[in-house]
Symmetry: C2
Subunit: 276 residues, 2 copies
Amino acid sequence: MNKILGLLMSFALVLGLVASAASANTKDYKDASKDKKTTHVQVVLFDGFDLLDALAPYEVFAAAGMYSKGAVTVELVSAEGKRSVPSGLNGPALEAQAALDPNRPGIILVPGAAGKPAGNSEDAVPNILAQAMKTDLPGMLKQAFNNKEITVATVCGGTLIPAMAGLLKDRHAVTNHIGMAALGALGAIPIEARVVEDSPRFVSGGGVTSGLDVALYLVDRELGPQVANSVEKLFEYEKRGTVWKAEGITPVDFNTSPKASEEKQPAAISVSTAEK
Amino acid sequence: MNKILGLLMSFALVLGLVASAASANTKDYKDASKDKKTTHVQVVLFDGFDLLDALAPYEVFAAAGMYSKGAVTVELVSAEGKRSVPSGLNGPALEAQAALDPNRPGIILVPGAAGKPAGNSEDAVPNILAQAMKTDLPGMLKQAFNNKEITVATVCGGTLIPAMAGLLKDRHAVTNHIGMAALGALGAIPIEARVVEDSPRFVSGGGVTSGLDVALYLVDRELGPQVANSVEKLFEYEKRGTVWKAEGITPVDFNTSPKASEEKQPAAISVSTAEK
């Protein structure tokens, strides 16, 4: 039984999500390169939020905190402060630990909503989003968008909240594929990618599970690839998709301008390299 | 603005996790083939459980309930009954809605633990698991394993709970890769796959995110592939890995018996089809 406990110990050693053990060689490299900079992440809960949208990133950041000896910290917050926040459709509630601080440097992550399809009932998604828009959240997000030390990240339907607040005009963004038309109607530029970085200060993700990719990308960006890779191994998940950014060669769009590409590009093979 | 609300409505229509809308043609097929059979899923919480292990399957089953008009129902339970159950490492608590009923037909899903690495502190994983073993949970799982109408599913470190209860002797199973040696030491047969079905009544998953695959597999098995596919599209996730089962051709193991395979199989190309 001692042997089994020993094996469980080693299991616990890596599985435990706490910032107390890290390999020495990784640590030396990190302390030297990062000067003990800490990134704080606020995951924003609102009535009717979607559980996975919020908790998948939460757990990625928590694990990254463990592997980096606390270089990233994460907490659940709400616009109203410390309170129990019900998730959508009678799902379990989560306790927001503090009030969202829209001026605190770091990352603010906004999940989507889960609610009844259509209708005008209290627990229908349009009403959940409309209720969220009546809180202090949109104003706080506006402050955050204006703060150069803050990155706003959104997951799934969460992208629609800053969009409805008029904060995504002409900005590149993604949401659940079902909400892409609404995103465009709200003035954003919908991009079909799993994760979109409009600028270093606004990163959005697609449907539900893309929250894993949004968080892994931000861990990579803020702490480096080694910590992100360690979280991936622990979670047995590999970040999916290339993060879309408004840089590099703009690919020919064969869907919307077939004639232009045909006329200008005699050989299909040369299309991707001939321009720019 | 009406147009945007309309778009949001259509977004809500599919995103909302409630059992009230399903496409008619899918429904007709299902009602005919399943005779309105309902599968009930109990996700078991215990002090120190891992959030994603529990909630990723929870949300897959909840979405499957929506797409099947309630052919699957899911609730959070605990061995002790309705109570607030703290997740590991000061993570948020979730409210168990009822007591685990070990005799209720359907699926019982056991998540893993999240705790401090090593040590003997209260919040170290070995202690969290040891505490869970002192509750009524192991005895309840034994009852469930003996009930032919119940499938027990485990995710990540959750597989170690029935293993420590002596319920996995000579049974095929998987846990987080870090815990595979412990699983073997506890008498199970560790299988390196993302999801393992030892028999139709015991299904285990690997690390954290494999809970998505465990749940999607069970949705496919119980409700059919169309509902599982709809959940995948909503979540923007595709089930990963072939579910391992003790059936079909046993592949040559080149790691443990290189000589045997070399001597018996003159041409490498014939290895996979020549035996059985």
